[in-house]
């Protein structure tokens, strides 16, 4: 793991979690979630941009880079693991466990933390939990199948897609892309549907392995 300050790690995790709920993540959302002033959020974001973990067009939405995403997932996994350990094995109350997990992350040396997480991961009492990876439907390759986790389209388009059988939980497979690169062809509910990439990007899916 990169040698990141623990507060920057918190940022990464927060961005990851917001990006799974909203289509875009803004400084305002982050400030609200972390309960930190917007100015200091901006400062930290520029640090993350320098580390190439986050991308941000001037004052635009914040996006994780692929390394950033990887890091964020690791941070979250560690956080959840600690929390789970405190609650399920030691029997600590959830509210206290949440706080203490944070404190532990911030005070223990990275080396001890990594070893602890490895130990917990190997322990049979604590089942492995792999975080869900979601991506835009338009990012799927030919032949890949995904399960819909979220539809970000709104209004008529959302209703249309929904009525044609693309809903949360539906399996959808990419059959191909038109010769000029757009639109795409999918298999869903046992029939063939075609959507432009713009529209497919509004559907989030979890890629089936």
């Amino acid at each position: 793991m990169l040698d990141l300050s623990s507060s920057l790690q918190d940022y990464l995790e927060a961005i990851l979690e917001l990006s799974e709920v909203n289509s875009t993540v803004r400084v305002t959302d982050l400030a609200k979630k972390l309960n930190i002033a917007k100015a200091s959020v901006s400062q930290s974001i520029s640090k993350l941009v320098d580390l190439n973990l986050v991308q941000q067009e001037s004052y635009g939405p914040i996006e994780l880079t692929s390394t950033g995403r990887e890091q964020a997932l690791k941070v979250r996994r560690r956080h959840r693991m600690l929390r789970k350990f405190l609650i399920e094995i030691l029997g600590v109350k959830p509210e206290i466990a949440e706080k203490d997990a944070c404190k532990m992350e911030h005070s223990i040396s990275p080396e001890t933390m990594d070893k602890l997480v490895d130990f917990l991961a190997a322990s049979e009492q604590l089942p492995q939990e792999e975080p869900k990876m979601t991506t835009q439907l338009s990012q799927l390759k030919k032949g890949q199948t995904g399960t819909v986790t979220k539809i970000e389209a709104t209004g008529t388009l959302r209703r249309r897609i929904s009525e044609l059988g693309v809903n949360v939980g539906t399996k959808i497979t990419v059959l191909g892309v038109a010769p000029m690169g757009d639109p795409m062809e999918f298999s869903v509910q046992d029939y063939r549907l075609s959507l432009r990439k713009d529209e497919a990007s509004l559907i989030r899916v979890e890629v089936d392995q």
Partner: protein, 673 residues
């Protein structure tokens, strides 16, 4: 004693479910095509007699839901809700059960008796699917009949069950779950106070998923306000509980309900991937990166060859026939002592007028034959899929490509081919810019003028005119999109139906419907315009046909000064342009008549009396100004609006004059005059 009765039966189903086959089977030749009031959507109606019951069958446009996303779907929805049919026959593609049953779940909620025709049952075995029909019928609470409409199987039973179903509303309705039902019930209770024939539960569900729906319900003002208040209150309450996604919650629950039903009643013997059908295998080549575009071009070339190579000789034959018929009639009329005016009226006016409609029939018939084969086979959707990227750059839909391309042959079938476009705005734009595609009728004009004045680079000059048309079509399309049809372009959410072999009967019936509609609707406009031009050329009584003294000549003289900036400000050119409205190729023969020479001598006259610049500007004018009457008739028929028809005439006239004048003026400045 049984009493004879009439039942109104509405056919509803998804696109490509075989609905048209069912309709054709039930009604045979006892059908007619009209328009739904106020819109351009076709209304097909027919009758089926069974014993002493007459079934009046209404074929509704194909729709995936009662969500009314396109004009077609709105027609289907409005008829089902407000038209009060006795029975709905819901045709369901049994090979694509889940999505087809979505509409069914909505139909069951209307409270109108429903009978389900489980169509294309013959394809189930090869796909390894078994459907337990009695169980499905029990689960849905309505009769289910197995049919293979393309071969006429199961029709008898369908009719019997339909007659029996009249007066028996569906026994079941969908349960939306213990968490959602109480909220729905509360909504329904409040709606029961309203004075409407609509089923309150159905109304509640519709209002919940489509907030715009209220506008379309025919209700008194006071009742409507009450309804709006109830809707507002309930929506807010439910949004608090369910979040913004409440509109799609119902769809999710319906699909959940369907999934449960399918699990119980359907046995799939093979996995999804093992059922990778013939259709997918065809698509691997036909829509592939490598062969997709070449194959598409091949198909387009095939359509052109089919339509014009086969059609042109037929058109010539018809033209020849009408010419000799008009001539013979003229001689016969003179022999029985009719005046020259009367015989010219009958010969040139009436017979010529009818002829100018009929000469279009071979092209239109063949083109529509080709198009209905493509539609029925499933390739049409692929064509749109392949061309969408390109058309989207121009702000249009993939389906706009073919109508524009066909326009190069003749704008009339091009405009009629826009029917495949669901989005009203896309369709109007495609219709409005279609006349800018230089059709075959304009070619004789280009040939005349280029052989007189541009002998060195005839091909290049003609090509530049075609190109100018395309460029202007793109520009005008973008302008219309920006200023007349604001708003987002229609999303490209399109089914790619499985490939199927078109049936002879359906293909021919579809073609015949469309040709018939053309003759009836466009024909009247063409005929009237031909007669009008004849009068202008022959009045006042005694003038020589189309001379400067005729009304036509006088109007030409009047218009000439306006045309001066474009370089052809003489009455001959103006009169020829007026005649060109009948059909663009008539410009050539008119110039011949006016100059008193045959078409052969005309090249010489033109070479002496026109400058190359004026000739080019005149050709541009011919490319762009007012579409011919047949095209005007088609625009009127397809837009169902005189406003848009007049707009098409007006803008093309302005564009033609503007561009011609620009070319002439700039050319003069540069010293080309």
């Amino acid at each position: 004693m049984k009493d004879s009765k009439e039942l109104v039966v509405a056919l509803a189903g998804n696109p490509n479910c075989g609905k048209t086959s069912v309709f054709n089977n039930l009604t045979g030749s006892r059908q007619h095509v009209g328009n739904w009031p106020g819109v351009t959507v076709e209304r097909k109606e027919g009758t089926h007699i069974h014993g002493d019951v007459a079934l009046k069958i209404i074929d509704l446009p194909g729709t995936y839901s009662l969500g009314a996303y396109s004009e077609d779907e709105a027609v289907a929805r409005d008829y089902l809700l407000f038209g009060q049919p006795d029975v709905i026959v819901n045709i369901v593609d049994s090979t694509n059960l889940a999505r087809n049953l979505y509409l069914t779940t909505q139909l069951l909620e209307t409270g109108i008796p429903v009978v389900i025709a489980l169509n294309m049952c013959d394809e189930l075995a090869s796909k390894g699917i078994k459907i337990n029909v009695p169980l499905l019928s029990q689960l849905l609470g309505v009769p289910v009949v197995q049919t293979v409409a393309s071969r006429g199987r199961g029709m008898e039973e369908l009719v019997e069950k339909t007659i029996a179903a009249a007066g028996n509303p569906p026994a079941k309705s969908i349960n939306y779950g213990p968490d959602l039902e109480p909220d729905l019930e509360a909504f329904v209770e409040e709606l029961k106070e309203l004075k409407t024939h609509l089923n309150p539960r159905f109304l509640a569900l519709k209002l919940l998923e489509d907030t715009e729906f209220v506008k379309d319900i025919p209700l008194e003002e006071s009742e409507k306000e009450k309804l709006l208040a109830i809707q507002e209150k309930n929506l807010e309450r439910m949004r608090k509980k369910w979040g913004e996604g409440v509109e799609t919650l119902l769809a999710e629950r319906r699909y959940g309900y369907i999934a449960g039903m399918v699990k119980e009643a359907v046995q799939e013997e093979s996995s999804l991937l093992a059922r990778l059908s013939v259709s997918d295998k065809i698509d691997r080549i036909v829509t592939s990166r490598l062969f997709g575009i070449p194959f598409f071009l091949l198909v387009v070339w095939g359509i052109f060859q089919f339509t014009f190579t086969l059609g042109d000789p037929l058109v010539e034959l018809l033209e020849g026939f009408f010419e000799s018929f008009a001539e013979a009639a003229g001689i016969w009329l003179q022999n029985i002592g009719a005046s020259e005016l009367v015989s010219s009226f009958i010969g040139d006016g009436i017979i010529g007028g009818i002829g100018s409609i009929l000469v279009f029939i071979p092209h239109i018939g063949l083109l529509f034959l080709a198009i209905s084969i493509l539609e029925d086979s499933g390739y049409m959707a692929r064509a749109a899929y392949i061309m969408d990227r390109f058309m989207h750059m121009l702000g249009l839909h993939g389906k706009s490509f073919l109508p524009l391309l066909v326009g190069f042959g003749c704008n009339v079938p091009g405009i009629m081919a826009t029917r495949t476009l669901e989005n009203k705005n896309d369709r109007l734009i495609t219709i409005l810019i279609n006349p800018l595609m230089s059709c075959g009728g304009r070619l004789p004009i280009y040939i005349l003028f280029t052989s007189a004045l541009f002998t060195a680079n005839q091909g290049l000059v003609i090509f530049s005119l075609y190109l100018l048309g395309i460029v202007l079509a793109i520009l005008m399309g973008m302008l219309f999109k920006k200023f007349l049809f604001k708003g987002d372009s229609a999303p490209f959410v399109m089914e790619l139906p499985p490939y199927r072999l078109p049936t002879f009967k359906n293909t021919l019936l579809t073609m015949w419907d469309r040709v018939g509609a053309f003759i009836k609707r466009a024909g009247t406009v063409i005929f009237a315009a031909s007669i009008l031009i004849w009068f202008l050329a022959n009045l006042p009584v005694g003038v020589e046909y189309a001379s400067q003294q005729s009304l036509l000549g006088r109007i030409g003289s009047l218009l000439a000064p306006i045309l001066k900036p474009a370089g052809f400000g003489n009455w001959q050119a103006a009169s020829a342009l007026i005649f060109g409205v009948v059909a663009k190729e008539v410009v050539v023969s008119t110039l011949g008549v006016i100059h008193g020479v045959g078409e052969e001598g005309l090249v010489g006259v033109i070479a002496k009396t026109w400058t190359p610049l004026a000739a080019y500007s005149f050709m541009v004018m011919n490319l762009l100004y007012i579409p011919c009457v047949a095209t005007i008739g088609a625009i009127r028929r397809e837009t169902n609006s005189w406003k848009w028809t007049l707009f098409a005439i007006g803008y093309s006239l302005a564009l033609g004059w503007g561009v011609a004048a620009l070319i002439y003026q700039v050319g003069s400045l540069l010293g080309f005059a």
